[in-house]
Subunit: 415 residues, 4 copies
């Protein structure tokens, strides 16, 4: 089996079949294989504890100056790396499932479960900084001298996670030194590969572009939304004009103008594309419209799961930012403005990564700027409604509704 991105051998994964949930396939495989007797294992052999727990090699001991806290330093980083491995496992799986022409609702459930898990891991990763904070700067200084040229900057798995999420190289503060910091060929190869594969963000964009209802010849959400926004802005202007107090009116005028400018940037595809060019937006116009549509109709059952996906992606973005922030705080406390062990600029570099440019899904946060009140959101056509919505049918007096064959079908949509 070929080595995988994390450097260790691992079996081919079930999700390489993409949208196929893989389970049926697995069972088929199982049937074909001759069932040889595979011995069960006791706990410590199953988890390979003899090997796992045997990787603490304290430099301070090697230098004849044993420092108690170096043990903590190593173990903490090792737990992070184990969790990073798990995050990559989930990301690979989710990207494979998304990387198909159609994503069914079952697949969406699987994706959501795995992204929620990823968020849960990040939450633990954020909070477990408290453990390392029990070390003092004086403790750290005792073994810090032995750590060079090592640096957390060299965590390959962390870089790979960033890349697989969709962190753009061009948004990085020091893109060049990242690739350079990995000297061995294998690491560099894995890093490059993670940049070449479609990232979660790339796949999300394609998926959002397929949002049902965007088609010009169908529901044409962009057109209806434009109309709705114009109605809303006109109403705001009317309210403004009815204001008699001159000072308040001045405030409202500014507000109305600001809103008009804000909305202009999404109502017109060209203006929007200009923002992409200026790197102020990353989602394509169509994808952005998809995200907007999902937000507008998130309370209809069919748009609920998509909305959950957008939400969990923002959650993860926030959690990663919090992780970076906690990391910054820790480094600031341990080192102040001293140079980092690997020669990195330490605090100042890390501080610069706690910013919006390191948020992969920043555009999703921005969608909120363009949501209009429920009353203005264009009503779904009967056709769309029947597709997306569980309408209240007559004749559903029993405990639950029976389907009837002659009715317009209300297929669950998958997109």
């Amino acid at each position: 089996m070929p080595p995988t991105s994390t450097g260790q051998q691992e079996p081919a994964t079930d999700h390489q079949d993409g949208a196929e949930n893989g389970r049926a396939k697995q069972r088929a495989n199982e049937a074909q294989e001759p069932k040889e007797k595979i011995e069960g294992k006791v706990y410590k052999d199953y988890l390979k504890l003899d090997s796992l727990l045997n990787n603490v090699d304290m430099m301070s001991f090697r230098h004849g100056n044993p420092v108690h806290d170096e043990h903590l330093f190593i173990i903490t980083h090792q737990t992070y790396e184990l969790w990073f491995r798990q995050i990559i496992w989930e990301l690979d799986s989710v990207r494979a499932i998304l990387n198909v022409p159609i994503v069914s609702e079952e697949d969406m459930l699987t994706i959501l479960q795995r992204m929620n898990r990823t968020a849960s891991i990040w939450k633990t990763a954020v909070e477990q900084f408290a453990i390392l904070e029990t070390m003092t700067p004086l403790d750290f200084m005792e073994f810090r001298c032995y750590l060079a040229p090592g640096s957390g900057f060299q965590s390959l798995q962390f870089r790979i996670i960033e890349n697989k999420m969709g962190q753009k190289m061009e948004n990085r503060v020091n893109a060049n030194s990242i690739i350079e910091s990995f000297r061995d060929e294998d690491s560099q190869r894995q890093l490059r590969q993670s940049l070449e594969e479609p990232s979660l963000c790339d796949l999300l964009i394609k998926w959002l572009e397929r949002t049902p209802g965007l088609e010009e010849k169908g529901f044409n959400f962009p057109a209806r939304y434009t109309e709705a926004v114009n109605k809303y802005l006109a109403n705001e202007r009317e309210n403004m004009e009815m204001e008699t107090d001159p000072e308040k009116r001045k405030g409202l005028e500014a507000e109305v103008k600001k809103q008009r400018d804000t909305f202009a940037s999404v109502l017109d595809e060209k203006s929007y594309n200009e923002k992409i060019r200026l790197k102020e937006r990353r989602l394509s116009y169509k994808a952005f419209m998809g995200a907007l549509m999902v937000n507008c109709y998130s309370e209809t059952p069919r748009f609920h799961l998509p909305q959950q996906l957008l939400t969990i992606l923002m959650d993860i973005d926030s959690l990663v930012t919090k992780w970076r922030y906690n990391h910054v705080i820790l480094v600031q406390r341990m080192l102040g403005s001293k140079t980092g062990t690997g020669g990195t600029s330490g605090y100042m570099y890390l501080r610069s990564t706690v910013s919006d440019r390191y948020k992969v899904f920043l555009d999703l946060f921005n969608v909120s700027s363009f949501i209009i009140p429920r009353d203005y959101i264009p009503e779904l056509t009967i056709e769309m409604q029947s597709a997306l919505h569980s309408t209240r049918l007559s004749g559903t007096t029993l405990g639950y509704r029976m389907h009837r064959f002659s009715e317009p079908s209300l297929k669950p949509l998958s997109f």
Copy 2:
């Protein structure tokens, strides 16, 4: 170097010198050793990531039925085992520092730092159950069949932690099966050894017995405390007798009687020892008096650190109980009342461990029953006060107090 309790090779630790903080010694060692050039390592070599991350061997893949979530199951358990290793590292160090005739205040600071760290690890361990809870019973059932005869019951490090904390075999629900569950000689040897060494609880008892102020010929805290309790109870009785409302009086009478009975169990050494015989108490009489004294005077600077130690030990007891509880909930959700993978009785067994009998430091919680209001706590004698207390000296009008050579010395106490 000999294999240690956790099965992996590791260097002799600094704390084997006991109370010696070890740092001076370390520097001496360093001086003696010829300083050969030791090469620094990059991040992945320092953390031995190639070895660390290469321990995921999914049984479902071996059986030709790959199950995505088994990866999570393995990684989660591995992070637990890494943290357990760290907890053992801290426990060993703290026990060595405590295992001396005198524990200085500097040593107490080190102990507190390390026990706080241990609590912080347990906190993460409690909370990271949320990650494993993202797996469903159906997911688990897909690979559960491959896990037998493995069982979390077989975590050697967890047993060793329990033993080193001071979990008594006789308090265990199924003491016999625990030793049996480890089939290899090395594990059994480590387990036995962890039972033979003085546990944290044993050492705590000895340390509490040395609490300054307990001596009969000195401050004689037990005698003064007895007197104080009697005054307090007499006052309560007086208040009761002044009550004219018959119903209220009845309530107060019962209350006074109950208090009298409660206090009787600690005022008389024989009654107390009877409770030890009945396994209702674990601390010796003298140690219990020490704990009581620390609680009574915790607001004097010299008793502050000892009080912090008692508090953090209760915190850890509570956290371990919460860990057990979360474990129980998880098993209940995954398995209901099904038999555990290693043939254990699963939920019912685990449920039985979430009880007070599994609290090592239960007696410390009980101390609160015997605390009396501040006004009744016996005043420190001038001698004790000068030893324990920063009294407000005359002539300390400057920004801080200067010491004067002719005064009674106010040495920091170490015990």
Copy 3:
């Protein structure tokens, strides 16, 4: 407007219309009402801060013995009561939405959002105990004497929450003293009313009984499930009989027997009802079958939301148990085994509430005992599948699936 359950005036709520999402209705109401000018408010008037923040009346001050920490004691309890008010608000709304013959998927989304919110509040409530734990037993003892006859036992809102969740009086350790502990008529009236209204558990049972697929003349899940279990048990028996090692075989025999007994209790309605009579089960047979079915098919989109509801209810049950446990620990640390301020037995009483009998949704946890491996779960019939499932239709080559009028309709089910 009449006073509500929490003693304060509050407006009629939107959810009193039950399943009607209420929004359309609201807008209609709005249209009818004359729109008089309502003045906006600044922050402090909107939140009524002058009134809200003016409710700290420290008894220790009244007694001329001001104790700093009583302020914390009051504020902490007040924040709990505010959150309890919010929990009641959510519970009332969710019960109203559930208390109808049919619950649509939109309604289910609303229910889930509000129960998730409730869980989130409980999470904060569990964790904020850490704040009160910064008070020491000595601090508490300074003002505790002034608190009688008050007691947390008298929190009306907490009792109402228990009742509205469905905590049965007969499962309470001291049901009588609970009603007695509220002396004023209004509190007693509210308490009784909360017992008379259908609880969340009552409504859940009715809802589960309506699970589509339970009908004898339709999919008849109970029959199919029985068949599946028998096949599964037969297979287990076969495996057992193939085992040649006598000792292992003995273990497997015991295991097979135990499984047979376990399953017997649900396969036969009479045996199950006997368990209800013995108070070992609370859900009706039909409701239990519904819960089992939801679990079995939770990976189909239509059963996903129902499964999420069952999960969040278990989460809340666990969180309330953790809240009780943290409360117990706090009381144990503050009081030891002293009598509680309201004359309650303090620690021992509270300890008794941290048990399975105080779990309202205990049966949902038990469902896991009866889940069988995915391979044995009865396949959905084409009819059920088309109702519940997004099947992979031919002709769905575009980015998402178009509905066709002539097909069997795939209506989203609401139940």
Copy 4:
């Protein structure tokens, strides 16, 4: 009684006596007052629940368009305001205790307990954002229109906390609009008063300036530290010069130069004062030296409590920053870049407050830049050591050390 800073009536507090722990005084007061019979209260009267819970006045109801989630919005803000009241209570108490010429170790214990409590409250405040995040942008938009001109920007208590901590007006992004945003005289008065009183940061500076060991004619830490740094830098330079690899040497040279520049800014009082003038430092030179000294000797018992105080202040700074960050994220999700309800610029304004300039105790974080390895830290003189340190005395072979009258006294230092 006069209204206090938070607008509500409250009793004079015990800490207005400053360093006097107040307890003795309280008892005296108690003795003097005639003990009239004060009736105990039941729970709901003690907590004034009828008044407390009666402050929910939903604007959406007033406008005839009831929105379920407005209830959550109000309750959440109310719990924040209750906690803010508690934080002010603790801050006032701690500032009073610090605002004296000498702070004893007992007082330091009280300060630490209360600042730890404050940190614990902030932790809950940070985490309970999760509750409000269960509201969607669409939900919020339904009642947001009714909220103007209210804005969280108008939280008086939050501003008062910032001021009492020591947030400088000149560091605020929009200092002017803050005072303007409170229209009523009383709020403005309170705000001004909070700016005039000595802040926690002011008092910390004075306290640090009194650090024992700074005196020129005594231990003269600054001089010894300067010497130590020079020795350390000389050693670093030597190591650099021994490096033969030209590239590595170049790196080391840059590193040495950078260190030299860094240290220059604290070794010379004038350079340091220049940094104050440029607003890059806030602590006075002497206070900074005090903080540095506390850090260097934090492992001696006497400097342990001071170090704990510095640490908890940094913790609080970090927590407040996290609170701001969570607030930003919430606003970003709810509003995008829309204008805030009170006319504030919403997201962009809030984003600007999540920066180092809003950290009151930033200089404490910077101290780490100037810590040198343990081996270089100047040894305490015998005189200092006997004052600060529990030296290992001969003749202390018993379980704990007895004081002897003829020895140099080892008084606990208070500063």
